[in-house]
Symmetry: C2
């Protein structure tokens, strides 16, 4: 019999359940592996991303060695949460496929599976790089998430590209071919080296944003390798497994140690720097809230998400236009400072434009154009926040 805090175990089950897929063809992947051997450890994996939670438990001085797979962990977490009482007790039963669980006035003979059918859960076994990311750093990285491609044929765009720019500044970039967002984040406490242009999967970074954004002392980001097992008379020194690069984020969450590990995306990220325009001669300066209002109002008057909004430049003004075959033609005028030719036009996807605008924080936004506004990528900048930039391809209307 072992016992653990009910509050902690409820949270640990919920955390470990985040990578358990609801529908699963491999039964073990629908389970959480629970082990009690010094620490109570909960593990889950979808073979790309893995979760591991460690928490304390009490074995009453008698060494308990327990390992089993728990199916339907979300249901069990809900029941344990509802049951009340301070502790949850777990004990083996005479039946191999049952474990005894008690919480408050609830007792249960839970159906379990054998631990041996569970795959080995990934970990960063040889660490090459580590850095502590606090709320500020994670908030910066989160700005580029909207530009991650959701389209699966160019799978190498389904993530964030990371590289070291020098002086402990790291660049995080995402693009889907229609837009690019990049942010430079200083990580002065970083240690070790990270290879250029590794691609971090979107699924992992989104889970990280959910779970690690609000940690008391920051989360530790690590990059490293999985090591080859030396069972087959191999060399004694650690040897890299092919495709064994791993990333992990770890934090202490009120006494739980939570780690999310992932494979990297195995591909070559395109040279996105070539897309960032330089030497543009035309500049439009607009109040960000006003442009948000214009595009929100116009996008409301269309059934089609991402319908093109056309910007027409007049002296001291921008006319925004949207033509919807279902709702009609609409206009929104707003003041702007610019040096565009009178009557110049450019079209852009309204949805993308709103996401770009939401990624900025300042009161003003600068759009940089070439002479022929509608033909070249548009550069979005905030002169007060140069760590971030965005690029948007125009749409022909």
């Amino acid at each position: 019999m072992i016992s653990a805090s009910r509050r902690q175990l409820t949270r640990a089950l919920a955390l470990a359940s985040t990578v358990v897929e609801r529908r699963n063809t491999i039964p073990a992947l629908g389970c959480i592996k629970i082990m009690a051997n010094g620490k109570l450890t909960l593990e889950s994996t979808d073979l790309d991303t893995s979760a591991r939670v460690e928490m304390p438990y009490d074995d009453g001085g008698k060494h308990a060695d327990m390992a089993f797979l728990l199916p339907n962990s979300r249901r069990v977490a809900a029941a344990v949460n509802a049951a009340g009482g301070d502790d949850v007790r777990l004990a083996p039963t005479r039946a191999d496929n049952r474990i005894f669980m008690a919480a408050g006035k609830l007792t249960s003979q839970l159906i379990i599976q054998e631990a041996s059918s569970f795959p080995t859960v990934d970990a960063v076994e040889h660490e090459d790089f580590s850095a502590t990311l606090g709320e500020a750093e994670l908030r910066q990285i989160a700005r580029v998430l909207p530009a991650i491609s959701k389209e699966e044929t160019r799978y190498y765009l389904n993530g964030i590209c990371v590289r070291h720019m020098g002086n402990w500044v790291y660049r995080f970039a995402a693009t889907d071919g229609h837009r690019l967002m990049q942010v430079d984040v200083p990580l002065p406490g970083a240690m070790g080296m990270i290879p250029d242009n590794i691609i971090i999967p979107a699924a992992w970074i989104r889970l990280v944003m959910v779970h690690f954004r609000k940690t008391r002392n920051g989360a530790i980001f690590r990059f490293g390798r999985k090591l080859a097992r030396n069972e087959d008379n191999g060399p004694l020194l650690p040897v890299e497994t092919p495709g064994g690069q791993r990333i992990a984020m770890t934090a202490d969450l009120d006494g739980l140690t939570f780690t999310l590990t992932s494979k990297l995306i195995d591909g070559t990220y395109p040279d996105y720097q070539r897309v960032v325009p330089t030497g543009y001669t035309h500049l439009v300066r607009i109040e960000r809230a006003k442009l948000v209002q214009a595009i929100s109002a116009l996008s409301g008057l269309s059934l089609e998400r991402g319908r093109a909004v056309k910007l027409i430049f007049e002296p001291g003004e921008v006319h925004c236009q949207l033509h919807s075959p279902d709702l009609g033609e609409s206009h929104f005028e707003l003041p702007a400072t610019h040096n565009m030719p009178n009557g110049a036009e450019v079209g852009m996807n309204g949805n993308y434009a709103l996401q770009q605008l939401a990624a900025f924080t300042g009161a003003e936004i600068e759009l940089h154009f070439n002479e022929q506004a509608g033909m070249y990528p548009i550069l979005w900048r905030d002169p007060g926040d140069t760590a971030f930039l965005a690029v948007l391809m125009p749409m022909r209307i």
Copy 2:
């Protein structure tokens, strides 16, 4: 050109949109009919339920007579809301199928349809009964909603049955054959007569709960009839249309007059009073929060919604049990005062039991049983709140 408050028009469009079905085979039913003729009126209908909003407008002293159908009203409401400015201006255009709309810096040539294709919207034309329902009365009526049947073959159970019990007390009841809930609500200000056992549709009462629960001065409930048109040389006195019974709820919502009208369900409600047990000899008294906890925890340990929970009576206690083929066997013990035979058992749908418990408000709940507990309907009462009662059929396990 007319103008109206943007804040009011946004809300009026949203209110009128609540009965516009998103997918519609009759194009006019996907629209809101907007009329300006003394008042600005917005109407919508799905042929069973109709919405009508009246609000003030300004025609600048020139009498404006405007009537058109607006498709995609939810989109227009969102755009008008985003556009800013105090007022919305509307004006006819040279094109029949366009109306000019302006709000803040937004101007639009909105696509509209002709008003003539819109069906006549239902109304209570000859009033037989009216009563003012405040938050307290609507909250009482809302207690029986969970028992309304969702199954469509016995369509007459898809609503709430209303009857006068005497002394201005009205009984609202709902049943789906598995459970019954009824509540007696005094309406001392009620005027007129309501026929016994009219059936109010679930769709209408649910919309009423959404929109009329928080009104400053209460909502006016009316029952009456739609009148036959006397165009065909009929009698001059008002004559009832066959199937013309209507109910309506009206309230002033910050300057908007909002009315939801509905047909009644045309059917005979079963004599539900026969199901309410009398003369039971066995009584179980349990702390309501504890029973909620027991059934919540046990229901968590099942993949099947509404899995049977078995109650086994022991001296001073109830043992709750749930056997799930997927998760295992679970028990929850809780203290109870009862005069049930030792070891007596009764099974009940866990989901229904939780809904019954949620409909009560007191600290304690009484379950009344017959000698053979598992064979007869269970009566649920709160001795401190006798206006409400619930009945639940047991499940054989």
